[in-house]
Amino acid sequence: MQHTISILVDNKPGVLTRVTGLVARRGFNIESLAVDTTEDPRLSRVTLVMEADEVSIEQINKQLHKLINVHKIIDLTGADAIERELALFKVVAAPDKRNEIVEVASLFRANIVDVSQNALVVEATGTHDKLQALEDLLRPYGIKEIVRTGKIALSRGAKE
């Protein structure tokens, strides 16, 4: 099954290599990855999405814990967590189709962030499924390019 793991690491050069290298050499494929510093500038958060069974994910978690630069690992899979991705779609938009596309975008609370003669850029955030649905609706107009971030996730409520 798909797991979302949030890893708190030292904000130091080379730490991301340690994390991703370990996951790769234990035989796993990273499906999505997002990294940035946290409220504490000494720490970064790595959000990893990967496909693994329960036994394997436990082993990966234990191995990640052994990295000296790893402080904390939270498996947000199935937990009460907020998950978001960001996507930018460059859509073919002849003047007569522009309004339709803007309408589709507004249904998804997406923004038009660039307009040119024959194209629009739509910016959307949401869960993986929501962005997929938007993509499916935009496809008939002709998608020239898509760029999507990795997933980020945070647990709900007050607990860290």
């Binding site: 340690r18 036994v55 814990h65 052994k66 000296i68 630069n69 402080h71």
Partner: protein, 590 residues
């Protein structure tokens, strides 16, 4: 190791006035503060400042090996035989990359090393400068941790942390890469002592009390228990607790290659080595036990054979300081994370309190009966083509008898291959840290430099390296290091003019098609020894064994005995690779 240190003291700085030193001088001063007495290494341009500073040290001796790989194995042999951290110093680029096999060897066997590498100046990093290699990245999968020091402010604390990380928890190698400009910069040096506080690294030593009680309860009830112990017992210093538990509950003890010496081989409860070349009764005990008490071991494929078919119905207590080992290769019903010594002591206390009595009499008889039956089936009774030729078991049995008779403290190192397994099968080693072998990585070329390190750590001991004609040639340059430093190590070279273990697999599984395993153009090893100012001697007949071994161990100089054995000698029994422990090839099958 300071795992039993109850204080959780933060890092302390000496209150002595600070001194202005170069980074390199500060490194040497801090190494002295860590208690380092000897460094193994090889200089080069980017390590020149470090070497210049070392030149002034009155406390640290430097052993110049003839290759950086050799330096790491020497440090490894020093660490394994003494329990201390082995320290290596090499230069950047090829100097650093030459350490890779040595570091991987130590990593696989959880040996504490601190490897210091010179690096090109920080301004040149990333430019493909002369002798630049990204050694921290290259060694990521084979180090416990590593540092690239770009800021001199981090230099001394990182070095101090390196010693702590290498030697605490599950030990392992730590690498510190020091760019030459950092080594040249000035710093206010204050020695750092005490336990470093690394919030993301807090190894667990104390086992969970409830799990310990549960383990004791299972052991108290078991009728067919086996203690299956590995190198963790040695690292933890838990051998007396192991013996105590075995005696108390009359539990037979299987010692992996890494644990050889952790349990007295003369004890009736001693089973010996399990796995691929384990004797029938050992593997029978593992496969048919009702309770495996696995201590400091990792269910390696060389022990379990086909992991899925290994003891599927057996309850398992797994004690290990590394939580990632538990459940990695085999299911654990009672996992206990922590230091083996304290955990075994806790189990013993629980058993004594509940006045548990051993129930293993029938089980021990069953194992003993199998052992007695197979003893006659060993190599000794088979027909040999050449009547007077030297058979490996005969040579090693004679060596074993002689080593026991000498009454000296004897440390045996091995290389990797058939001779390694014969040494494990036929030599009785009764003390931990006295049998030193590359277990996990299986590194040919380990034995000679490891013997060197063991001799430096134990100057009064008789250090014997059992090697083969393939392995010895992988680091034979270190014969020079032995000679120059007057280290009187003894090499017993089992010379079958082939890469024997691979040849054995080809004989058994590839229809005797000996692809690239025959070393027919071997050098004259006696002359090679003499070229390095060693003594050398060759024997070819079994009648020469006694006198030759006497000659060997009486030499005050390093000496090599070239023992000619038949090419088609075999290490048996042998579990068919990838199969369950029951699928065995033995003398009757070949």
């Amino acid at each position: 190791m300071d795992e039993n240190d109850p204080t959780d003291a933060e890092v302390q700085c000496d209150c002595a006035p600070t001194v202005q030193l170069t980074g390199a001088q500060a490194v040497i001063a801090q190494l002295e503060a860590e208690g380092v007495e000897v460094i193994f290494g090889y200089p080069g341009a980017q390590a020149i400042k470090l070497y210049d500073a070392l030149h002034d040290s009155k406390k640290i001796r430097h052993i110049l090996t003839r290759h950086e790989q050799g330096a790491v194995h020497v440090a490894d042999g020093y660490a394994r035989s003494s329990g201390r951290v082995g320290v290596v110093l090499v230069t950047s680029g090829p100097g650093a990359t030459n350490t890779v096999t040595g570091i991987a060897t130590a990593y696989m066997d959880s040996i504490p090393l601190v490897v210091i590498t010179g690096q090109v100046p920080t301004t040149a990093i990333g430019t493909d400068a002369f002798q630049e290699s990204d050694i921290t990245t290259i060694t990521l999968p084979i180090t416990k941790h590593s540092y690239l020091i770009k800021d001199i402010a981090e230099l001394i604390l990182s070095l101090h942390e390196a010693f702590y990380i290498a030697s605490s928890g599950r030990p392992g190698p730590v690498l510190i890469d020091i760019p030459s400009n950092v080594a040249a910069e000035m710093i206010h040096y204050v020695p750092i002592t005490g336990k470093p506080s690394i919030s993301s690294y807090r190894p667990t030593y104390k086992g969970n009390a409830r799990q310990i009680r549960e383990a004791a309860a299972l052991i108290g009830k078991a009728k067919r228990p086996v203690l299956y112990v590995g190198g963790g017992v040695v690292a933890s210093g838990a051998t007396s607790e192991l013996a105590q538990l075995a005696q108390l509950m009359q539990i037979p003890v299987a010692t992996t290659l890494m644990a050889k010496g952790a349990f007295d081989p003369q004890d009736v409860l001693a089973l010996g080595q399990p796995g691929m070349h384990g004797r029938h009764h050992v593997n029978h005990a593992l496969a048919h036990s009702d309770l495996l008490i696995a201590v400091g071991t990792r269910f390696s494929d060389r022990v379990t054979g086909n992991a899925r078919a290994f003891a599927p119905d057996t309850k398992v207590i797994h004690i290990d300081i590394d939580p990632a080992e538990i459940g990695k290769n085999h299911v654990a019903h009672v996992p206990i994370v922590g230091d083996a010594r304290g955990i075994l002591a806790g189990i013993i206390a629980n058993l004594q309190q509940s006045q548990a009595m051993p129930r293993t009499q029938v089980w021990l008889q069953e194992i003993a009966a199998i052992a007695a039956a197979e003893r006659s089936a060993q190599g000794g009774n088979r027909e040999v083509a050449d009547e007077g030729a030297i058979q490996p078991y005969e040579l090693l049995s004679a060596l074993n008898t002689l080593l026991i008779q000498t009454g000296r403290d004897v440390i045996v190192t091995t290389d990797v291959g058939q001779h390694q397994m014969w040494a494990s099968q036929y030599l009785d080693i009764a003390e931990p840290r006295h049998f030193i072998s590359s277990g996990g990585l299986g590194t040919m070329g380990f034995g000679l430099p490891a013997a060197l390190g063991a001799q430096i750590a134990n100057p009064g001991s008789l250090v014997i390296c059992v090697s083969g004609d393939g392995s010895i040639q992988m680091n034979s340059q270190e014969m020079a290091t032995c000679a120059v430093n007057s280290l009187p190590i003894k090499v017993v070279l089992l010379n079958n003019n082939s890469l024997g273990m691979v040849r054995q697999w080809q004989q058994l599984f590839c229809d005797r098609r000996y692809a690239c395993t025959l070393l027919e153009d071997n050098p004259d090893f006696v002359k090679l020894a003499e070229a390095y100012s060693w003594k050398g001697y060759r024997i070819t007949r079994s009648t020469e064994i006694g006198r030759a071994l006497e000659w060997l161990i009486s030499q005050s100089m390093p000496a090599l005995l070239d023992v000619r054995i038949a090419t088609e000698e075999l290490v048996l029994p042998m579990v068919v690779p990838g199969e369950a422990l029951g699928r065995v090839i033995d003398w009757g099958d070949v």
